[in-house]
Structures are given as C-alpha cells and as structure tokens.
Amino acid sequence: MKKTYKIEVDCANCANKMEQAAKETAGVKDATVNFMTLKMIVEFEEGQEPKKVMEEVLKNCKKVEDDCEIFI
C-alpha cells in the first residue's frame, strides 16, 4: 500500500535525510521524499498499520532533522 503525506522541511539535504530515515523504519518497504513538492510517499509492507508506522517514521525523521514535520 502506498500513501502520500504532506511534509514540511527547510533544506534539500534534510529532505534526503528524512527519506533515508523513513526507508530504514520498520514496516516501510520504500519511501521517497520530494523536496520540491514537499511530499513523502511511503510504501508500507504487507499487513502494516500505516498510522502506527508513520508515527515511528516521524520519530526517526525528527532524530535526523529536528526541524521537520509530517502531516499524518
């Protein structure tokens, strides 16, 4: 399952870091962050609850870039 989330982040490199952090989160099969359109597209693994996974994703993103937001 794929879902798109709106995000807020200031710099392009931070967006790349968020992408990396999201990819490494458990339950996420693949993730792409588009800095120009400020969107995060997350593909979840089978049988995962997107809401729960996204909370983890947000936590991990905050770790790499404090100044970011994902609108879950």
């Binding site: 710099c11 392009a12 490199n13 790349n16 870091k17 800095f35 120009m36 404090d66 100044d67």
Partner: protein, 625 residues
C-alpha cells in the same frame, strides 16, 4: 516571504547593522580584547543561534556531520583563533545564502503551481431557477452545469446548449481557441471565452481530466533521476570525508613540524582546516539539482508536455531511437474521401449514391462518405437496404438499384471494376448493374508530421522507425513522404511489442528508445520502451496512465520539443554539478595550501550556491527551446 523567512531576514539585517557599528567604532577606539569578543558575539549569536542549536541537537542525536555542524565548527573555530570578524561574516553569509535558497525554492514552487493553474474552484449548478456555486467534488454525474465566459470548465461533459470558443492553452500550450457547439464533448480545465454553455457532466470531478492532470503534475519528480540519486549519495559520504580531511589538515602538518623540530604553526593549520570546512558545504549541489528538474518539468507542463518523473526527463535527453505508431500519431486517424475516380456520373452524384446507400451504417468508412457528401441525408429516399457483411451494401436509392462496396462485392455481383494506383480504401459504386466508378478513402497525414520528423533528426535522433497494422503499401508511402528510416507494416499489437524488444536489443545501453503512440491500444508498447510518449491525451485516461510522458495535444512537433526541453534541463543539471564540484575542489586545494582565505571560502559556499540556484531556475524557460 513566509514567517520563517521574514524572521531570518530580520536577524540578518540586525547583525549587519551591529557589525557595521562595531567596526566603525573600533576605528576610533581600541577595545579591550574581552570587550571586543563580547561585542562581536552579539551579532554572531543573533544570526547563528539556530545553526548552533541544530548542530548541538545533531550531535545529541548522533547525526554529527551535516552543514550545521560544519558551519558551527568553522565559525566557532575562527572566533577562538581571534578572527571574530571572519567568524561572524561566515555565519552571516551562510544565513544569507540559506535565506536566498529558501526564497528561490518557494518562489519557483509558487511559479510552477501558477503555471498549472487549472484547478476549478466551483461549478455553477441551476437550482430552482437560480445559479448556485458548488464545490466541483459534489457534482454528480449527469448534472447540468453552466459555464459562463471567463470561467473554467470544472468537469468533463457534453454541451447540451450554447456554443463558444474554448481556450485550451493551460492544458495544451496551444493558443488558438477551439470552437465548440452543442453535442460536442468538452474537457475540464479549458477556459470558456465567448458564450454561455450548458454542460451535462459525464464524469465525477475526481475522474475528470483536470484532476488527473493535476494529480500527475503534483506527483511527478517523485521518481528521482540518476543525477538526483547520485547527489544525495554524494552528500551522504562527502560531508564526513571532508570533516576528517579538515581534522587531518589541522593536526597532521603541525605534528609533522614538531617531529622535524620546526615551529608547529598550529594556528595557521587550524585556520586552513576551518576554511576547508566552509568551502565544503554541499548545499549548492543538493538544492540545485532537484530544483533544475522541478523547473524543467514545470516549464514542460506549461508547453503541454507532462513528464511523470525526473528520471524520464533524464532518459528522454538520451533518446537516439524513435519508434512511432502510424495511425493517430503521424496520421490523423480520421478517414476522409481523398478522390473520386473513373466516374461515369458527375462526382457529386456518385458520392450522393454512396452516401445514401450507406446511410444506415456507422462504419468509419460510411461516416466519411456522409461527411464528404455534406448535405442532410433524407433516409426516406433509401429503401431495401441490404448489408453484406464485410463487403458493402445494396439498396434502392430514389428507386434505382445501387451497390456500394469493396472488390469482393463487385465480384459477387459479377461486375468489372477498376483498381486504383493510390493508397487507401476503395469504395466501388454500381448503379443498375453497371460499374460507375470508385471513391478513394484514406487517412490524412497530420499537418506537422513532416516537420516533426525533420525536427527530431535535428535533435540527434539516429533512427526513426514506424510500426503499423496497416497495409505495406500505405505504410511505405507515409514513411517515404515523412522521411522515416524504417517501417514495419501489417503488425498485430503483439508484434509491435516484439519489434520494439528487438530494437531495444540492438541498441547500445546509453542510447535510449522512445515509443510514441496515441495511447489507445499501445499500452504494452508504451510501457516496454525506455520512455513511452502518449499524444493527444486530452480526454484519454488510458494514455495518461500508461505513458511516461504525455503530450496534451496531438501535434507531433511536440515530440522534438519534449526532447529539446529535456536536453536543456539535463545540460543545466550537468553545468551545476561540474561547476559546483569544480569550484569547490579548486578552492579546497587553494585552502589547504593556504592561498584561499575565509572570504574565498564564503564565495565557494554561498556564491556558488546562489549561482547554481539561478542557473537551475533557467530550466523553467523552455518556450523557445
């Protein structure tokens, strides 16, 4: 400017004023060293507080090596060495660069969303004799909506009342208005220019053309190009490498000096290491590459070329082989009467017999006969119509026996007929058992087809190939007329896929193959090619979904345009990569040997970034490429 940007601007301006005042006063009075330090710390903290905080948080979260860390170490280091002014200046310029970057990105985000300003805000629905504005999302299929001059058509549908001219330029880049009248289908996103029209909607808003296009545009550039992936990987390894490099630069030479029994000159080497850190900030690259692609995709969509991701833009720029479908791509896919030959009756009379006899058929051939006839058809004049499946019809028209059909029909009736030297479908006409001549019906080339092939060759296409299900004769004639290198005819849809696979196997890895079709039944080929281009997509959802690049109108010249746009964009991307990395490497070397000071470092960081961003924005301007 948004709130964050305004705050940053205020911080920058305040500290500039403070620095000027402090330096001016320092001209007259010599400060006590501690006082000078404290005075310079004020503007430094005002402008650099955020960076220090982020760098500290990064260390806490074990995300040490980022540009905040680089800047914090470089500026604090300079201040510790006593170069207060330089420390503050580096932080100040870094923040100016950041502000500029965020402003430029915000601006181009806005520009591009304005380019695609096709989202309708409301639909007019008549309720109890009064017009009511409602959310397009709430309009059900089959509702009658009213569109006034100057308004956008919100939902796809059919005109049931009124006629007008539509401006489709937001969708197609075509500035010529399109005339429409009752019974015509219209698509959402066009602007109604002259008359009031009533439309019966055929789709929901979410399924309408405008929603599909917006969806496509907003989600493009999420498929990242190789250049973008290269840069983000580069940035991941580059920053730590530079940090260790700086560390080595600060301590290895002094250590070496101590061993050799010379003055260690720690201060000088630490200063060089700090310069090194400032130069190395990867922002210019990391921001300008995605920005170039974003601007390129945005500019292309303004021209009616929708690209689904920056990877496709990249591949398109390497196109060397173009494979076309014939019908609907190079030709109009509309059959027209192109000649009446050997007629023993006046041409019009022959056409009249044919059109009347075929008046009950909805076959494209019959339609084209009726269209060429041009007048109202009085079906009462036609009796005893007999359709002979696959061959034609016989009927009584105005009391005379008429037979209209192909060779087989003539043979069946035992009549001699004449062959034609031209390519197309022949319709023979016999009246009262006598052969009266034939009508030639053929598909017409698109107006720009020939120029399109010439333009493609100019962009560096090596080979053009046409695939078609049509007869060999027809295909070869078209290919010759257009100057297409190779042609394969009488192919079934599955044959087209295997032909494309064969071509894919022949070419070199770096030469890309693009397939251009009208998207109607070539979805498998579209997805098999390196880049699938669907044209004339207005109103065809299937094409929008199957293709990687969508040409909104059906002008084949747009194929070359799309390639040119992609080449411009990729050229800008490479310019930025080489320019930014080149300047940085040169400055790093100069910094390491002590020629470049902190001011050069600031240029290598902020200056390069600003130039790269400005260059990236150039990708947006593609009207005359």
């Amino acid at each position: 400017m948004n709130k964050k940007q305004k705050k940053a601007l205020a911080q920058i301006l305040t500290s500039i004023v403070l620095i000027i005042v402090i330096s001016a006063v320092a001209h007259w009075i010599v400060f006590h060293p501690y006082l000078e330090f404290v005075l310079y710390m004020v503007p430094y903290l005002i402008v650099g507080y955020d960076i220090l905080r982020k760098a500290f948080k990064g260390i806490k979260n074990r995300q040490v090596f980022d540009e905040n860390f680089l800047m914090a170490v470089a500026t604090l280091g300079a201040i510790l060495l006593g170069d207060y002014k330089e420390g503050v200046a580096v932080m100040l310029f870094y923040q100016i660069g950041e502000l500029f970057q965020s402003y430029a990105v915000g601006k181009s985000r806005k520009n591009i969303s304005e380019l695609m300003d096709i989202r309708p805000d409301y639909a007019n629905v008549e309720r109890d004799g009064k017009l009511e504005k409602v959310d397009p999302d709430e309009v059900e299929v089959g509702t009658v909506i009213i569109v006034q001059p100057g308004e956008k058509i919100p939902i796809d549908g059919i005109i049931i009342e009124g006629e007008t001219a539509l401006n489709t330029s937001a969708l197609t880049g075509e500035s010529l208005p399109r005339e429409v009248k009752t019974e015509d289908e219209v698509i959402s996103g066009c602007i109604n220019m002259t008359g009031v029209i009533k439309i019966r909607t055929k789709k929901e808003f979410g399924e309408s053309t405008v929603s599909k296009i917006l969806d496509l545009v907003e989600n493009s550039s999420s498929k990242k190009s190789r250049s973008e992936n290269f840069i983000s990987k580069f940035a991941r390894y580059y920053t730590p490498i530079v940090c260790y490099g700086a560390l080595a630069l600060a301590f290895l030479p002094p250590l070496f000096n101590v061993i050799m029994g010379r003055n260690p000159a720690v201060g000088q080497w630490v200063y060089r290491a700090l310069t090194f850190l400032v130069i190395s900030c990867p922002c210019a690259l990391v921001i300008s590459i995605p920005l170039s692609f974003f601007a390129g995709i945005g500019g292309a969509s303004k021209e009616g070329v929708l690209v689904k991701g920056s990877n496709y833009l990249e591949t398109l720029s390497q196109a060397k082989y173009v494979v076309f479908d014939k019908t609907g791509t190079m030709t109009q896919g509309i059959f027209q009467v192109s000649g009446i030959h050997h007629s023993k009756l006046p041409d019009e009379k022959l056409l009249e017999y044919a059109a009347l006899a075929e008046c009950y058929s909805s076959h494209p051939i019959s339609k084209s006969l009726q269209k060429a006839y041009g007048r109202e058809i009085d079906k009462n004049r036609v009796q005893e119509v007999k359709e002979i499946s696959g061959n034609g019809v016989t009927a009584k028209v105005d009391g005379v026996n008429v037979a209209v059909g192909n060779d087989k029909l003539m043979k069946q009736l035992g009549l001699e007929y004449k062959e034609c030297h031209e390519v197309g479908t022949l319709v023979h006409v016999a009246v009262e058992g006598q052969y009266k001549g034939h009508i030639l019906i053929s598909d017409q080339l698109k107006p720009h087809a020939k120029e399109a092939i010439a333009a493609l060759k100019k962009t560096g296409i090596k080979k053009s190939v046409m695939l078609t299900g049509d007869s060999k004769l027809a295909a070869e004639k078209v290919a010759e007329e257009l100057g297409i290198h190779e042609v394969y005819s009488e192919l079934l849809p599955a044959d087209k896929v295997s032909k494309v696979e064969e071509l894919l196997g022949q070419k070199a890895e770096k030469e890309k193959l693009i397939f251009v079709g009208d998207g109607i039944n070539d979805a498998p080929v579209l997805s098999r090619a390196d880049v699938g281009i669907a044209m004339g997509a207005l109103g065809s959802d299937a094409a929008i979904e199957a293709a990687d690049v969508v040409l909104m109108d059906d002008d084949p010249l747009k194929i070359a345009k799309a390639i040119k746009i992609s080449k411009k964009c990729i050229r800008i991307v490479y310019e930025n990569i080489y320019f930014a990395i080149g300047v940085k490497i040169i400055c790093l070397i100069l910094g390491a040997v002590g020629i470049a000071n902190m001011w050069v470092a600031i240029f290598a960081d902020v200056g390069v970034m600003i130039l790269a961003v400005l260059n990236a924005i150039r990708a947006l301007f593609v009207k005359n490429v």
